[in-house]
Symmetry: C2
Subunit: 402 residues, 2 copies
């Protein structure tokens, strides 16, 4: 028999485990709730567009070339103008297969083993794991309620300059930061651009959740303050329309985008999904996203209520400004990686903080996603999680209302 | 201004050139002809499936997990059984974003800089360029009319064993080989499996064009003779249904697939396209592909006629057994890379042989794709190409019927 182990590298990833369905209480991943998928209007949109343009599927790239379906790029351009004050033409947009491909493309273009990057120290797990795999040094910047600590950042930049190390980029999720759910202030956005220019280091602005602000006003993107081409921006439709549609986008000046594009060697991203989204978004984006925000706000309130009810003061969190996740700090005794292992066996999936932070105190934190479970499931799942946590760590001391 | 050049590696890819539309005579790429896209039945299929299952788009992976939409995997499993004698379960199939992602995943799992792989010396340009970029040594095996020269292969295997070099895989496109358009005989398929087992080297069988055999009988896949898990198999819907739908698949024993799957970190391939294909293929795959084959055969005849008419005996080729391309050998004086450069300026795009061969004699060969142009365009384009070639290289001596 063929022995695959003889053909794997010393640094090969571990084997996948066979998939056995989703956990009963699914507090992980960017999933949405099936009731929030606009099936009827998606269907209508696809029906329209396929009759008009189905024949163009004969070509890789449709009639739009390697940067993606032009009507979708037009929508993205006008939407970014209206909602984030970004001025970009269709030529400065690259449609990608979800924002994860955006991360991979930017990393492949700019990073080599041993390079240094600057990131918010609490961060998207997929970003941290990618950078680890690439052998890149991550320098973490602490987060305040209004975003990255810029005083700390400047010190880091000075130190690195002193060590003659040029960071390859500053990565930030400014709007509904993942996992903290906070929004970077306009002042800090401007301050970040100033530092970027001063130290001549590009910013990689990941704005995947920006459409999902509940009540606050969406601030202009960092990219909107960028008059010198320092910002590479990415966004996605996974969170605003449907996760299983794998469509995201990169925005950058053409002199930058033209260096990233050659690494996109997949003969284009799925065109049916691009067509469907372009047609859908034209008439439905705003109304759909408005409705989605209000549904997610209810779930956000529900998970905060459940945390208060079952964990009491032992679960410390800041109410999310939007999005689909909440970041929770537990007392020191709690090791959320251990909690994850025990809870998953009882059907409760959580993100242990160590995968979402490069600060050792991530060990006592956890990220809970509330996009997928219903409001009843949120209550039930948090209650079960509190019981599991109490049994293992003695925290919370007592569970109210049990 | 941000200077991207300060942030690129020494081995960065060259900048992309802005896309300015397709060439008038498009003899490159796996494009199809818009008349061959089954728009009406695709539309019906999407309409059906989205009503039934649209809500499942709320989850990454739908209700199917990370290996792809289960009804599509079921179709692939039964289709491979019927057409290629492969026995595989849904668990042994991974749906990917086009077979290009299949190549990337297999390469990432198995290859490191400095490794050696064995390939057919005339080969898909995308495979050659990927392997070059990875810094992998390619050992080329000459092709005969019925596939790889196995006597040569065995000598290579012995030599490499003597040098203590273990090739990481033997890559082959056995059915409608790219670019030669030939089919590997059943005997050679069995012989290849025997060598694979004897030397304990896996085979990577790329069967992307196998659905497009014109008249011959499709032989069992090499994978069908594999009882020890040595073959990693890939296929695609790009050629059989529509290029712009980015859906392909990998087939391997679970012990191998479970090592490849962790490298697929894109949160799944486009689900709408998977749903559309599964629903479409259930009732339409065979009838559609039968019709497509006969349309492509007409185009294949047309390009052979045009080559005879305008190039006469100076263009040497074997009639393709199927597919969408023809591989042409020109007299020694012709440098097809130069021909490419001149022809593209006049609106004729060709694949120069040097990109599709690792044998130096690729310099005088070229690949022409005939899926996209109409029969009239084929005639007109080949005529123009002959004129350009004559002007530059004096070949053909005279162009008949001008």
């Amino acid at each position: 028999m063929f022995d695959v182990n003889n053909f794997l590298h010393s640094d090969a990833l571990g084997a996948a485990i066979e998939w056995n369905g989703y956990p009963r209480f699914n507090f992980i991943g960017g999933h949405n709730d099936s009731e929030n998928i606009p099936v009827v209007s998606l269907r209508e949109s696809i029906d329209n567009v396929i009759l008009k343009e189905g024949k163009t599927l004969a070509k890789y790239g449709l009639e739009s070339g390697p940067q993606g379906y032009i009507p979708l790029r037009s929508f993205i351009s006008s939407q970014l103008k209206n909602s984030a004050s970004i001025n970009c033409s269709e030529k400065e947009i690259l449609v990608v297969s979800g924002s994860l491909q955006a991360l991979d493309l930017v990393n492949t273009t700019f990073l080599k083993r041993g390079d240094t990057v600057i990131i918010e120290e609490e961060n998207y797990g997929g970003t941290i794991s990618r950078l680890k795999r690439l052998g890149v040094n991550m320098v973490g910047i602490p987060l305040e309620k209004d975003g990255m600590d810029l005083v700390f950042l400047q010190k880091v930049l000075d130190r690195l300059e002193g060590e003659n190390k040029k960071p390859r980029y500053i990565y930030t999720i400014p709007t509904i930061q993942n996992p903290t759910g906070t929004i970077m202030s306009v002042e800090k956005r401007k301050g970040l651009i100033d530092l970027s220019k001063k130290y001549m280091i590009p910013i990689f602005e990941d704005d995947c959740y920006a459409d999902l602000i509940y009540e606050k006003k969406r601030p202009p993107a960092i990219k909107s303050f960028d008059d010198e081409g320092y910002v590479i921006y990415c966004g996605s439709f996974s969170k605003s329309i449907a996760p299983a549609l794998r469509v995201g986008y990169l925005v950058a000046d053409w002199n930058v985008l033209s260096r990233i594009l050659p690494y996109k060697t997949d003969a284009g991203s799925g065109s049916l999904e691009q067509m469907a989204l372009a047609e859908f978004c034209k008439n439905n984006f705003s109304s759909h996203v408005n409705k989605l925000r209000s549904e997610l706000k209810k779930k956000s309130d529900a998970i905060c209520d459940a945390l208060d009810k079952y964990f009491g003061s032992t679960a410390d969190y800041q109410k999310p400004d939007g999005g689909i996740f909440i970041w929770i700090e537990m007392p020191e005794e709690v090791d959320t990686s251990r909690l994850y292992e025990i809870a998953i066996k009882q059907g409760v999936a959580i993100n242990p903080g160590q995968e979402w932070s490069i600060n050792p105190n991530g060990k006592r934190k956890m990220r809970l996603c509330y996009g997928n479970p219903t409001i009843d499931e949120i209550d039930e799942g948090i209650k079960l999680l509190a019981e599991i946590c109490q049994k293992e760590f003695g925290i919370p001391n007592q569970i109210a209302n049990l």
